[in-house]
Symmetry: C2
Subunit: 455 residues, 2 copies
């Protein structure tokens, strides 16, 4: 029996295995889930050991552990490094989930759960592909190293240092990551560009404690109002970011690349249909595809202060805070951008309040050459399973490890996504299309087989 | 034994009684405290019956009940209507309280608890004054009617209708309310002006669910950003409200009244010391006292959206909301102002988002003549206990019942406050100065005695 047939015959087992993985609430950002993070790492270790990987270990870091495994018996064949992450985003707002985020639930061909697509489902695609190859042929066509981290959703705080300390052990010819989405079920896409990220928090204070708005209102600057006034100045009315120097290092889009991005069958109508937004927004001189993948952005990810419970409370709050993140494109430096934005925020702060900026985490963007052999292997694997050639696209999200792998190990990464745009990543009702999960396993099998041929 | 001596000898009993009252978490705005509201009303009923009031009843309303009682045996003497409220604000943010908000705790001459000053402590001043008069003289020098409601903190939703249906029963010559503060422990003040209130909620939505900021950021208008941009336009950079028509009905301050308000020993330095704010804010052509008492304001009482938990979440939220309230001065109409602000918000809303305004509750401001006989009685009572004549001031807060009593019963209200400016009303660590509580009881006794003489 060949690997594809094996995978086909063991689909239900694969789905049950994914559900097991999804039941572990491995939320890296919440300290009360520390134990669940350990459980998720142990569970992964067991799966990798079970399918025949060697030197499987849970490597401690100052934060959540890294799960590492290897299999190096494909003499003379290239070595591929598989990266994935077993941590997930918090499920808030909980009440908008139609089923419990940590009780995987099938509805109309979709599997709903936090992490279903980002990234447990896509990580397991590779675990199942390796299992199919091992069970059907007794080994892999390439040498394999697995690097699964537990801090992707909190900025991979300890990953870079760990990779740096384990450079020889991690040596490989190429990396593969499935942590992105394709255009739609019919049209696969290969991501060759990623945005970087800077994430900061802004805190504004006026009085030392909450005040009665009737007694002090009108003479003390309301911190929520002040924060609104500051945030409102970060974009001009065309959606362009006003922070001085923000666009200085943005690599201009050349006409050839713009023409290619224009071939992506995605426009304002698609955007409005997918999101339900009443109207598109943003820099008018760039297309929707360019705005979301090839242009930097500044978002308010959260903001709060004062009383937001039921009913009315006439409070003049003492504090207000917001979480801001900037999506960056080559060649913007995330640390430099964080500094520029922080300096601008401090400049905008009036003397009637106190403002503090805290930097949370940063990551570089990346662009991967479209013409290297592993890209060919990926393209052919997709075409064989989906029946059409994939389109090369840039993606708006951030996978900072791509830049780290290039810097530390000197290797390029193939971003082979099996998610879909409506997977509700980081949002309520996250899901994985079950058919995409199955086709992902087959595509990964073919990729590993073709990699041995092209490299 | 006269009433003052009785009150003096029963101080500890009075304080214990107040602590009992404060242990009932009668938070009118939170539906889970429905039963506590009933308990508070019953407790009040028992106290009034116990001291000798007649026809004591818990009158149901569509919301929280009204506690009513009367004693009408002072033939030929005037009738005074005592108003107070037994409901309190929510205690959030809980973690900033130094002791539990519903476990009254004495520290350095202060009694800390939610409602200690607003208004349970000040309401009980009158209950204790009546008790002292009854126990020492077998009756009151005036006829007394008590009207204690449980919905003051949520806009007295059902009070106006109840007063309107009980006009004959409530007929009186004057009303007295202790639900305000005096300047400081040495200098009593009598409030003759109150601000009105309009309270609304603004809801902004873009997408139908939360989005990944990496995938959609840059092409969908962030609702938090949009709400910031809208709120930032509600004031100009001098602190003046920009809503068209907002100031049209504001009665101008004449030079005589401005001169009187200038005598209040309160300035920017006092404000900064009390609040800890780094600098005063607001309309530069008005003094701090005028801004907080005689000028209308617009405050953001709460705002929220997106992820504000620990760490980072790269979400583009679907929704954002804010609670806004306007403090109003004669002759602004709260309903008209709510309409003006709502219309302006809708005009400011860009087509890239959906905006909805919900009106929460409204109340009129008031100005009471300073030369009526009950004001003389109050002034003399204060002077006898504190040793100095009180100053007449306007207050920034809202007590809409004052306008209702004038409209429905044709009577003026004496606002005899026993709070202090640092009582932390509506904020963590609310407290009542224990000495003020005792002096309040004595001042109230004297007020009732003098009222019988001057009217």
């Amino acid at each position: 029996m060949n690997a594809i047939a094996y995978a086909h015959d063991h689909r239900e087992e694969a789905l049950e295995q994914l559900k097991h993985f999804l039941r572990i609430p491995s939320i890296s950002t919440l300290s009360e889930h520390q134990e669940d993070m350990q459980r998720a790492a142990q569970w992964l270790q067991e799966q990798l050991t079970g399918l025949g990987m060697e030197r499987v270990e849970i490597a401690p870091t100052p934060g959540h552990p890294i799960v590492y495994a290897e299999w190096l018996q494909a003499e003379g064949a290239p070595t591929v490094l598989i990266y994935g992450h077993y941590d997930v985003q918090p499920p808030d707002p909980l009440k908008e989930w139609q089923s419990d985020p940590f009780t995987p639930t099938e509805r109309e061909g979709q599997l709903y759960a936090r992490g279903a697509s980002d990234d447990k489902g896509q990580l397991l695609v590779h675990v199942r592909a390796l299992e199919a190859l091992m069970k059907s042929a007794g080994g892999f066509p390439v040498n394999v190293k697995c690097l699964f981290e537990g801090e992707e959703e909190i900025g991979s705080t300890n990953l870079d240092a760990w990779i740096n300390s384990n450079r020889e052990r991690l040596a490989a010819d190429v990396a593969i990551i499935s942590d992105s989405h394709i255009l739609n079920e019919q049209q696969p896409t290969i991501v060759y560009g990623l945005r970087g990220l800077s994430y900061i928090e802004v805190h504004v204070e006026s009085a030392r404690s909450d005040l009665h708005s009737g007694i002090y209102g009108g003479a003390v600057h309301n911190p929520l109002q002040a924060l609104c006034e500051i945030i409102a100045q970060l974009h001009d009315n065309t959606g362009r970011i006003t922070v001085p120097g923000f666009y200085d290092k943005v690599r201009p889009l050349d006409p050839e690349e713009r023409a290619e991005l224009a071939r992506v069958p995605y426009n304002e109508d698609t955007l409005l249909e997918e999101t339900g937004a009443p109207m598109a927004w943003g820099e008018p001189e760039f297309s929707v595809v360019e705005r979301t993948t090839a242009r930097p952005t500044l978002e308010v990810n959260g903001m709060g202060g004062g009383f937001m419970g039921e009913g009315a409370k006439t409070v003049l709050p003492a504090k207000a805070a917001a979480k801001l993140s900037m999506r960056l494109v080559p060649d913007q430096d995330p640390w430099e951008i964080a500094t520029l934005v922080s300096e601008h925020l401090r400049k905008l702060a009036p003397p009637t309040i106190r403002l503090e900026v805290r930097e949370l985490h940063h990551g570089w963007g990346a662009i991967i050459p479209r013409d290297i052999p592993p890209m060919k292997a990926a393209s052919e694997a997709y075409e064989e399973v989906f029946g059409v050639r994939p389109i090369f696209v840039r993606e708006g999200g951030s996978i900072p490890v791509v830049a780290t792998l290039k810097k530390e190990l000197g290797i390029d990464t193939v971003l082979m996504g099996f998610g879909l745009p409506d997977d509700n990543l980081h949002a309520p009702n996250e899901k994985m299309n079950i058919s995409m999960f199955y086709r992902g396993i087959e595509t990964a099998i073919l990729f590993y087989q073709k990699l041995a041929e092209v490299m």
